[in-house]
């Protein structure tokens, strides 16, 4: 169902940790039915932006509207895939149980998932090719498999708008393609997908629209308009080798500025 309202409108959003602004005056609109990428260096505030939109972090200022409503009112229409490293994979539980968590919102307080929910979770695991791993303890899954479980968990939410924090992180090339096809399928079902992405080379291929972020919004809009070398340089501080379309790509690593990802993991 096409919405008259944009899937997401962010106005004047500012978020600070200890008086230190990590997001500054963000204005951003995501039209419904699009596949939007967020790119920016480590520490640019990508995760913080998603968390502020989802009410996990409280913004210092600004407004967020989802399909024209407040987040609380539109909560049921939103799905979320956090960064894989944000949870403890040694937690005593199995893959199916993690997927079931996606249904907790629909169940509400106190009610527990039953047979019907388990079936849905199984179906979602099947969609991401993980049906055989349903009762595997989650610490015994590979990084890519954990990522798929997270995606399956988002799928069962049956949301209209998905926020995904690096859903393709740590997966091999074949898996990346398969997962990406899944995002396309979602889009064909009129879902809107917003995903943080780290590989600049695949941005034009994967996304319709892009937000370039580094504390401030550097640019946002259709990929062919805003995903330019000039904008990328402004986002990444001039350290990016990136060529325009139709020329061979030479950028080997886009996320050079401060690679804290490794040390964090």
């Amino acid at each position: 169902m096409p919405d008259a309202d944009p899937a997401l409108t962010v106005r004047d959003l500012t978020v600070a940790y200890n008086e230190e602004p990590v997001l500054w005056d963000i204005d951003w609109t995501v039209p419904a039915g699009t596949l939007t990428g967020i790119v920016g260096p480590n520490g640019a505030g990508k995760t913080t932006l998603l968390q502020a939109i989802l009410g996990i972090e409280t913004p210092a200022a600004g407004q967020v509207r989802i399909f024209g409503q407040s987040y609380e009112a539109a909560r049921d229409r939103v799905g979320y895939v956090p960064q894989r490293g944000s949870v403890d994979w040694d937690f005593p539980t199995d893959a199916l149980d993690v997927v079931l968590m996606g249904l907790y919102g629909r169940l509400g307080w106190i009610r527990r998932p039953g047979a019907e929910e388990k079936e849905e979770a199984h179906a979602a695991l099947e969609q991401v090719g993980m049906a055989d791993y349903a009762d595997r303890q989650i610490s015994q899954l590979s990084g890519g498999q954990q990522q798929r479980v997270f995606l399956a968990r988002a799928l069962v939410q049956e949301a209209d708008l998905y926020f995904m924090d690096e859903p393709l992180q740590g997966v091999d090339a074949t898996t990346e393609r398969a997962l990406f096809d899944l995002l396309r399928t979602l889009q064909q079902r009129d879902c809107t997908v917003v995903a943080v992405h780290h590989d600049l080379q695949t941005v034009p291929e994967y996304f319709d629209r892009v937000l370039l972020l580094n504390v401030r919004r550097i640019a946002s809009g259709p990929v062919e308009e805003v995903f330019t070398e000039e904008n990328l340089r402004r986002t990444y501080g001039g350290r990016v080798g990136f060529l325009r379309k139709n020329e061979s790509p030479i950028s080997d690593s886009a996320s050079a500025p401060n690679r804290k990802e490794e040390s964090r993991a």
Partner: protein
């Protein structure tokens, strides 16, 4: 067994299970230290409570103490959110301050009050049967059994009702918040229960044992469980085991019950840490060893395969030569060959080593893996 003996064990068991339930979530949230902080800080609440109501026997004391527990949790979170110190350091900063204020207040203004620090730290389970609940001229058993029974029921009820919410908020607080499950409210509810449990328990068993019982059994259970339900049940079971074993240990050695219970808790944890089938140290050690041998056999297979059907095969494919080529010492090379033979990867043929078909497969597989 005499009636007081049974009663002491009952009280100990109920305390242990009541502590294990919220303790499981503390351990999973890596907040075990929080039980330490809260069980000490509540002293301040008790002292202030005594100043206000003027007696040691009022339910208001429990409320005051539980509030101090929440205050501790809030202070820790405030310090933590400045991002300047880590959570455990924040905990270490907060509770000694609150605890010492409590101690100073007692020393200064309540010297005559029955609240000595020994009792605070170790409690005295042995006296539990003497403090009885009587009503309508009837004896209903030790008072501690009733208080702790009530706390146990409350904890169990909370876990049963909010099991799914607690699990989600512990595993993935981000998703919990985005789904509207208020992880912060759950956090404070849990801290409230920890405080309440600690206050009620410390009268009977003292604050050291409260910490041991909240952290020990869940940590032990964690090493043995793949599922949360399992971990909770095992925590409770280990709690009971520690309580009973601790009691009989104290009985045999004629020492403090709380002390032996805490020691048993440590011992049981140590044993499980060594012997747990998957996560235990011995299992890990054996896994590494097995991998070492498997790797050696693979190396051998690859080596033999390389020189198979070559002119120098006669020289290369001898046990003696392996020392030179693979940098193995003699006895080690001999043992690797023995293993390879017993697994059917290698055959000995008058002094020479030959790969079997199986061995060739091993070599092939290893070569494609790297």
């Amino acid at each position: 067994m005499s009636l007081p003996q049974i009663e002491i064990q009952l009280v100990a068991t109920v305390v242990a299970v009541a502590c294990a339930l919220p303790g499981t979530f503390l351990v999973l949230r890596r907040m075990g230290m929080m039980s330490d902080a809260i069980s000490h800080a509540i002293l301040l609440g008790i002292v202030v409570g005594v100043f206000i109501v003027g007696t040691l026997h009022s339910p208001l004391l429990i409320v005051a103490a539980a509030l101090t527990g929440l205050l501790t949790a809030a202070l820790v979170e405030t310090i933590n959110s400045t991002g300047q110190v880590k959570e455990d350091a924040a905990i270490g900063l907060v509770f000694p301050v609150l605890f010492s204020i409590g101690v100073i207040l007692i020393a200064k203004f309540a010297g005559d009050m029955h609240l000595d620090t020994d009792a605070v730290l170790l409690g005295e389970l042995a006296f539990a049967p003497f403090n009885r609940l009587t009503a309508f001229g009837l004896d209903f058993g030790p008072r501690a059994l009733w208080t702790m029974g009530g706390v146990l029921v409350l904890n169990a009820l909370f876990l049963a009702l909010f099991y799914k919410e607690l699990k989600l908020a512990t595993f993935d607080p981000g998703l919990a918040a985005s789904l509207g499950f208020r992880p912060r409210v759950l956090h404070y509810a849990l801290m409230g229960l920890v405080s309440l449990t600690a206050v009620s328990a410390f009268d009977a068993v003292g604050s050291i044992l409260v910490v041991a019982l909240m952290v020990g059994p869940p940590m032990t259970a964690y090493l043995l469980s793949d599922r949360l339900e399992w971990m909770i049940s095992l925590s409770a079971a280990f709690g009971v085991l520690n309580a009973i074993a601790g009691y009989w240990g104290a009985h045999l050695l004629d020492v403090s019950i709380a002390g032996t219970m805490a020691t048993t808790t440590g011992l049981v944890f140590g044993l499980v840490l060594l012997g747990a089938p998957e996560r235990g140290l011995i299992a890990q050690w054996r896994r590494t060893r097995r991998q070492k041998w498997q790797f050696a056999v693979k190396m051998l297979a690859i080596h033999l395969r390389q020189h198979e059907n070559t002119p120098e095969a006669a020289r290369e494919c001898q046990v003696d030569h392996l020392q030179e080529h693979l940098n193995w010492d003699g006895p080690f090379a001999e043992r690797v060959v023995e293993r390879a033979v017993s697994r059917g990867s290698v055959r000995r043929e008058n002094g020479h080593l030959r790969l079997t078909d199986e061995g060739r497969e091993v070599a092939q597989e290893a070569a494609t893996q790297t």
